[in-house]
Amino acid sequence: MVASRFLPFLLIGPSILLGASTADALRMEYNRDVRPILSNACFKCHGPDAAGNPSGLRLDVPEFARAPHRSKTGRITTALVPGKPDASEVWRRLIAKDETTVMPPPNALHQLSDRDRTVIRRWIEQGAHYQPHWAYAAPIKQAIPDSRGGSSPSHPIDFFIRAELKAKDIEAAPPADRRSLIRRLSLDLTGLPPTPVETATFLADQRPAAYPDLVDRYLASPHYGERMAVPWLDLVRFADSTGLHGDQLYNNFPYRDYVIAAFNRNKPFDQFTIEQIAGDLVPNASTDQHVASGFNRLNMVTREGGAQVGEYLAKYASDRVRTVSTVWLGSTLACAECHDHKYDPFTIRDFYAFAAYFADVKQWGVYRHFVYTPEPELTVHTDDYPFPPEIEISSDFLKNRDARLRATFARSLATGGRALLADPDGAAAVQTWARLVAPWIHTPSSDPWIPIPVDQATSTNGVITIPRPDGSVLFENPPSYLDDKYKKPPTRHQLSFATPEIPLATVRIEFLPDIAHGGFVTRDRRDLFDIDIALAVQRAGEAKPQALALAEALAECETENYFNGRRVMSLRDGWRSSVRLAREPQAAVFQLPIPVTLAPGDRLVATITSKPVNFHQRAALGEIGRIRVSVSPLSGSLPGEPADSVRFPAGALTPADAGFEQTAVAYFRANAAFSDSERVQVFRDILDCREGRTSTMVTVAQEPRVTRVLPRGNWQNESGDVVDPSPPKFLGGIPTAESQGRGTRLDLARWIVSPTNPLTARTFVNRLWKQFFGTGLSSAVEDLGLQGEYPSHPELLDWLAVEFMESGWNVKSLVRLIVTSQTYQQSARERPELRPLDPQNRLLARQNARRLDAEFIRDHALFTSGLLRPELGGPSAFPYQPEGYYAQLNFPIREYVADHDDRQYRRGLYTHRQRTFLHPMLANFDAPSREECTPARNVSNTPQQALTLLNDPSFVEAARALAEQLQAYPQTERLNQAFERVLTRPPSDAERASLEKFHAAQLAAFRERPDDARKFTAIGLLPVKAEHDAVELAAWTAVTRALFNLNETITRY
């Protein structure tokens, strides 16, 4: 670690350092030079953790270190005698030859180098002055001299960076060329490269304001929020699934939308903080603030049978402490879960006092009711249920999608109807149909449903069926039923009906409450029933009924059916009735793909089977009580859409009539629309939009659970003290409590962003710096504590931290400050001459190249090929994924279904995140699984990355899409176009020559095998355009595929 730091003597080199004459001139600074050595090698046993310090000697606190200390053998010594190393026990121990005396002990992991020892000796000689840990002292904003006319730069960042460079006699790198600059800025601020037009405009704009204007334009781009959201979502461990055991899905994408919008609207960071930690506690909290409070629900949870409630609540609590202390404080408070911190002054009590703030968050240790771990509120929950508490909100993305899909659906129906009119046979068919069905549907009430009384009814398990005058059937249990109900097989009811002789397009089944059942829809006064429904036709004279296929089936009223946490609108896989409507009529509608007409003597047969009752749910699950069946010649309507009969004009029977076209559309809709699978898919997609409504997990406060100190982190140990919420004592103890009494999450959030907190602004600024330079000013962005790294430019970090707070926690203004510095705009070209001096470029004598994050590598290919859907927010998307990847998931068993429409081309940050099986493209490019707060991603360079860019269908398809666009240009212009889009520059002569040869070779190969060319260019959802020659297109796709695989393409220089 020492080698990576920029201390003056390191740049001189150890041999000079050890020469006494030079070293005398060097001033040892505790924070910079000494503390890292002591912390790493000594504090583990001579630091804050009393339990790990058998000798009782502390070297981290000057009062202890300078006072006489009695050793175990009774010897009295003084660890540090200022100015007198030879009288200091520390020095004697460091140089002792005897194995029992020398420190650190010979078996210790961390030994000191000669250099370390020299530093300590000099430090003692110079008075052994301690300093408070840099990150725990209030940051100070140094004045920047006004440099107008002077030689030092006026930009504060450049002032600090250049001062260090100047001291080392190093020249800053020249500015990057303007193409590199716009590409860098665009990638850094939006996660997308510039378009060729943007680049050309910028190149032509010679005004001094051209660059600052560009900065403002990118800061105003809606894609800025998406780019900024990615690292934040890593920190808060945002994902779509629970991460434990069955890894079921969460409903929480509105939280992601909130984060994107917060960055785009430049929500002050203090507000942003408060809303996430305590949005629900803010007076008159808005919907957005409730959504933001979903932050507290992003931890992993379980619903595994046998899991211990207390154990998991303890896990969730410690996860929250780890996350909040890392995200906002840059602290490793997590280490104090089992014992006092080994290096920093956090006590185990601090850990649990911090956890106590979150003790009010309503959440279950085990998200399901089991008899051995009862959770009475969750009795009906299965593996498929979502994770309460949730609220229902409206999503702009879903509303827009819903409107677009409805328009598509309506257009397709209108086209179908009009096509009928254009054809004389079609028009005749419409007329015949309208005449046939009109008498049945134009009742005075305009009710399109024709009730059909039950003809015959049989039920298993001795259930009694009683016909009612309204055509419904009442079911009654046999007298002994309730006693042994759960030992019986599921009840099966078979009902048959005669129908009018018209083409039937839909069947409706109503489930009715009855006074005989206490007003419940179930006959056993329970909250809901869970059934399968099958329809069939029994033709007269045939032995067996013929099953009817269903195009779609849906409930007319609100029901809550789930698969893996998500609302399922279709009833094709059965119907779980609504709990909330347990005493209201509920109905389901079944749409047939092709209408069926029953002849006299034929019967419609409905078979209703109750699903087996889960042992754990027997208290809630009941059996159906009373049903009524109706049919209609018209198609089912969409939610929010008026029923067809209302729109179906009576008597519009000749093509000349004004309403005839509408009749034709109704005919088409009822008779043909649902036999087309693509149209049915659109219909289903509309249902799934739920008119824009969606659920999202939120924080709901309840009576706080008791929080105790858990000795050794053992959740079963109840001997520890009960603690009240409090921030870590050494950071200021009890905050000003809004409310008298117990501290709340709101108090915590306000303390975190209070101006007296030395950590929050530093932590955020340091991470943001890493985003733009590749390394934080303190490289350990996750730990600003004693084991972290002393910053390369501590005054700059302080200056930025204070500036950030003074600006009102203005994130955009901080970003603008960074990217308008000369330091940021330098060339990233490596400088081999500086490598020995500054191998990691911490002095920033140039910019750093940085490989793009996984999400942006995907975005880059989609954007430059024109495939990217630019819409913001919305539910997670499902890009192509290798087959069978979810084979090891269970409860429920899952299959990955890739998006079948343009959601396929959504940005990487929207990719569905299954915590236990992260999408392989994201995983291969180091995206974290978001099981744990991740302040910094790994950056690896592996063969899996090569395989992904080479062979992942998303990238192959993007290459083809780009190649298709190139076809519009003359041959000679194509390479230029491709380079401008993908690399923001024209090709060099050498590149052009090489690629032309490559193109020719690939073209020749595809000419030999045109079938392969067709296969290669057919990869992906994007339809192949007929006008392109497959061989030609394939050869150009080979070229664009090469560009997408270049190191330069996935690197920001």
Partner: protein, 486 residues
């Protein structure tokens, strides 16, 4: 008589030459070599130009015996009472109340609601004393009985996690905190890879007949270690490695043209930017291409002689069964893969254990034994460590017709790679409830320490600096069971 340490020194020389010096040391840089364990430097140093991942250890801490490991992970938790730990007293107590002195104050999973009515459940299956070593093995494992003299049975295993998911995490990473590296990743991080055309850590999956417990990819995660050390799961469907197959219509020779073209273009770009990462990128494309060529050959079991297929009991080579995976595992270690982990789901016998356990045994017994025999006859067993076992054991108390999860005692076996064969290590009390503190108790941390020792690694000295702390696989625990090492 020659110097008794002669062979030790010889092996050390051979080891260091083959594993470290032979792999063009210049790329990693003198800086990293000079500092034994400086992970940040290592991470930034990246792989060597020949594409292999080098480990951080320059020389082993102890005499290394194992170079590779095949872990047969019996996911779900096999009952020790019906496999390797016979308990006549328990059988005698069958159906009787389980003595409260054993269970009082103890953590139980699903059995807790039956606390008042815990009853002993004996095993209906017989055990046989096997081989010259006379180790006791249940008759449900007839093939395993034939390798009794090759394996070391550990009966004193115990863990801290009572549910599958965390117990797997604990078995793999010695911690249930997410983001900790798995055992395989630690091994690779320490020792590097031997193969230059295959990942160093490969995971295979097979299923029992039932509705099995899920397994998360985090079990082979590199956690906070650099991502190149993570396990790569070979898929049973499609191509074995994600994105391994060329796009439709692209043959290997066209792919080769592309790789060559990329080397040219990347080289041109490097001249301009002087970006040192480019050389690594070029090397990774070469390695990827080699993987594309070698993996299909590797995964193709059809060329194996019938006698070998019969030895493992493979009916359809490459069908993703446990038997096929065992053979694949042998082929992987033959080609220098450091760590192979086979998950077999199907041991969670909460009910009907009398029927389900024999079925589960039948699915794995023959191939597990065949793997040991096959490695042995090829001379690979000496430095390949095979380990067989689950994430925990099962209660000696009945749970209906089955047994619940149990953390206080379970059995595993190990073979090869420096493990003393033909011995039984550790024991449990007379009812098989808890390991005995007889100096042979084996906590998961102890197992990790012992396995790392077999690889020549001191578990206290293989560390990684993260969040200001030096993390290790064994956290602050772990005692090497010297007695089971040769």
């Amino acid at each position: 008589m020659i110097d008794p340490l002669h062979h030790v020194r010889q092996r050390q020389v051979a080891w260091s030459r083959r594993t470290f010096l032979g792999q063009s040391a210049q790329a990693i840089g003198a800086l990293a070599l000079g500092s034994l364990l400086n992970p940040r430097l290592l991470a930034s140093a990246g792989p060597s130009t020949d594409g292999k991942w080098r480990g951080v250890l320059r020389s082993p801490h102890f005499l290394p015996r194992a170079k590779r490991i095949i872990q047969l992970s019996m996911a779900g938790g096999p009952s020790h009472l019906e496999t390797f730990d016979p308990k006549p007293r328990l059988n005698a107590l069958h159906g009787q109340p389980f003595p409260e002195s054993f269970t009082k104050g103890q953590q139980l999973a699903q059995l807790q609601h039956e606390r008042d009515g815990l009853r002993a459940r004996g095993s209906p299956f017989a055990f046989t004393r096997c081989g010259l070593s006379g180790q006791m093995i249940c008759d449900l494992l007839p093939h395993t009985q034939t390798i009794a003299d090759d394996i070391c049975i550990v009966r004193s295993m115990h863990t801290e996690q009572i549910n599958h998911d965390p117990a797997h995490a604990f078995m793999n990473a010695g911690s249930i905190t997410k983001g900790r590296p798995s055992f395989g990743s630690w091994t690779l991080y320490g020792l590097g890879a031997e193969a230059d055309n295959l990942p160093g850590y490969i995971v295979l999956m097979s299923n029992g007949p039932g509705n099995d417990q899920p397994i998360s990819a985090r079990q082979w995660s590199a956690g906070f270690l650099p991502s190149q050390f993570q396990g790569v799961q070979f898929q049973s469907k499609g191509t074995p490695v994600h994105y391994l197959g060329n796009p439709d219509g692209i043959c290997q020779s066209m792919q080769r043209q592309l790789i060559d073209e990329l080397a040219v273009l990347n080289g041109l770009s490097a001249e301009k930017t002087l970006d040192s990462e480019v050389q690594t990128r070029i090397a990774q494309y070469e390695l990827a291409f080699k993987m594309q060529s070698s993996v299909p050959e590797l995964a193709d079991l059809s060329k194996e002689p019938q006698s070998t297929l019969d030895l493992y009991g493979i009916k359809n080579p490459g069908d993703g069964s446990f038997a096929s995976n065992c053979l694949l595992a042998r082929r992987l270690v033959e080609r220098g893969v450091r760590f192979v982990q086979l998950y077999h789901r199907g041991w969670d016998h909460h009910s009907n254990i009398d029927a389900n356990l024999p079925a589960a045994c039948k699915l794995v017994d023959q191939a597990s034994a065949a793997l040991v025999k096959d490695l042995k006859r090829r001379g690979l067993l000496d430095d390949t460590l095979v380990i067989w076992g689950g994430e925990f054991g099962r209660t000696p108390m009945g749970q209906g017709s089955g047994r619940d999860h149990h953390i206080n005692a379970f059995s595993i076996w190990m073979a090869g790679g420096g493990i003393r064969p033909g011995i039984t290590w550790g024991s449990t009390d007379e009812l098989g409830y808890r390991y005995l503190d007889d100096g042979q108790q084996m906590h998961v941390h102890d197992l990790h320490a012992t396995l790392l020792a077999a690889f020549g690694i001191d578990h206290e000295r293989l560390t990684y600096r993260y969040q200001g702390r030096d993390f290790r696989l064994t956290d602050v625990h772990g005692k090497i069971a010297r007695g089971i090492l040769r």
